[in-house]
């Protein structure tokens, strides 16, 4: 053991280095989140946290499980590709508890013109009217059933009763 005869100071240095490394690793294990680096240079658990956000829009598939009649009317008409919540707004609460959460009816005076008020900016093949001239103030649903808006279509306009909330 001649080699290590005068090496006491080296062992002390090595010991100090080992302690330092251990100390830093300990501190690091407390500071770095557990899932950091699971998928990359970020906290893997963050993905699940973002995914845990509650949904406000139930999705038309959910609506159609109960409102089969409306789904049928709509599928046959011009609004076939317009999803329920495009007009009725987010209804996840109503879907979760249909009896106590009343979704109300959208106000057609605001709703219809959002899409159908004539504007040179809209695509030319999209149906547009100058609402003032077109109806003279008569509510849209007097003639058009919102779920199947073509006049004389399967459902009578009266079935879309109401207009304002």
């Amino acid at each position: 053991m001649r080699l290590f005869r005068d090496a006491g100071h080296l062992f002390r240095l090595a010991g100090l280095f080992a302690f330092g490394t251990l100390f830093i690793l300990t501190i690091r294990s407390f500071l770095v989140p557990r899932t950091f680096g699971e998928y990359g240079h970020y906290r893997g658990a963050a993905i699940a946290e973002v995914a845990a956000h509650p949904a406000r829009f139930a999705g038309h598939q959910t609506c159609e499980t109960c409102h089969t009649d409306v789904a049928q009317t709509k599928a046959a008409g011009k609004h076939a590709q317009v999803n329920c919540e495009a007009c009725h707004g987010p209804q996840a609460k109503h879907a979760d508890d249909p009896s106590s959460v009343d979704p109300g009816k959208p106000d057609t005076a605001v709703l219809c013109v959002r899409c159908h008020e004539a504007s040179a900016a809209r695509p030319k093949d999209f149906p547009q009217v100058n609402a003032g001239d077109h109806s003279g103030g008569v509510p849209c649903q007097t003639c058009h059933q919102p779920h199947s808006p073509a006049i004389g279509s399967a459902s009578a306009p009266a079935s879309a009763a109401g207009g304002t909330k």
Partner: protein
């Protein structure tokens, strides 16, 4: 209660292990969802957009986006043929309540819905000093709001202006591509609310997704392709004047 030194030395590590598992919590399970099976993108069909603002309102309702901030918004371009390079662009309140009626004139009008492009090689994720923003294995760029410092470096780095500092949380906020919905088999809130189908969520890893046929048969572009961000929001019939 008397605890000897030996008992304490045994108890301490046990308590540490228990505390760690409490801290870790139980992750939200998304049954039957496998991240590696998806690569999310979006298709925007400009000729179908009518500028109703449904997507903007839906996004704000779905994601609690504060007033005056937008994860998605709609711009209206007005391009005149004598000044092609300088379009007039408006986006009143992000297009949330629609747009003023446009009169027919010499120029052309069209709407451009915008949102995070969920870039495959995103500048925003590269600049984050702490690893608080990243792209998930299924191709969604998101922010870890518990880890974000709010330095806003990513807000400046995004070439599309899709990020903002949340006014109350003081951390970066952006479109998550409705990750909480798409992992449960729903489409995004903006796509759900779009009345004309101008926005379509697409999964590039799903061979049955209609996006593949669409990309083959249409003139599709991404925004700012010269920046090589690997943007995954595809625009059909995008005008050259769009920035």
């Amino acid at each position: 209660m008397n605890i000897t030194r030996r008992q304490l030395l045994i108890l301490l590590p046990a308590a540490a292990v228990a505390w760690e598992s409490v801290l870790a919590g139980t992750p939200e399970a998304a049954p039957n969802y496998n991240m590696t099976d998806h690569w999310w993108s979006m298709l925007i069909d400009i000729p179908k957009c009518i500028g109703c603002g449904n997507c903007v309102r839906a996004c704000q309702a779905e994601n609690d986006v504060p007033d005056g901030f937008f994860r998605t918004w709609v711009e209206r371009y007005h391009v005149t043929d004598w000044n092609l390079e300088n379009p007039q662009v408006i986006s009143p309140d992000g297009g949330k309540e629609g747009f003023p009626v446009a009169k027919e004139d010499a120029g052309k009008y069209f709407f451009v819905p915008k949102l995070c492009n969920h870039c495959a090689d995103s500048p925003c994720t590269q600049v984050c000093p702490v690893g608080a923003t990243f792209i998930t294995p299924d191709g969604v760029v998101m922010v870890d709001q518990k880890y974000c410092l709010g330095c806003a470096y990513c807000v400046q780095a995004c070439p599309y202006g899709c990020r903002y500092i949340h006014p109350t949380k003081k951390v970066a906020d952006k479109c998550t591509l409705c990750y909480h919905r798409i992992t449960k088999g729903l489409t995004t809130a903006c796509c759900e609310a779009c009345p004309t189908g101008a926005r379509q969520l697409a999964d590039l890893k799903n061979p049955k997704d209609p996006i593949h046929a669409f990309l083959k048969t249409h003139s599709v572009q991404v925004l700012k392709p010269q920046m090589a961000t690997g943007a995954k929001v595809f625009y059909n019939a995008l005008d050259g004047s769009v920035r």
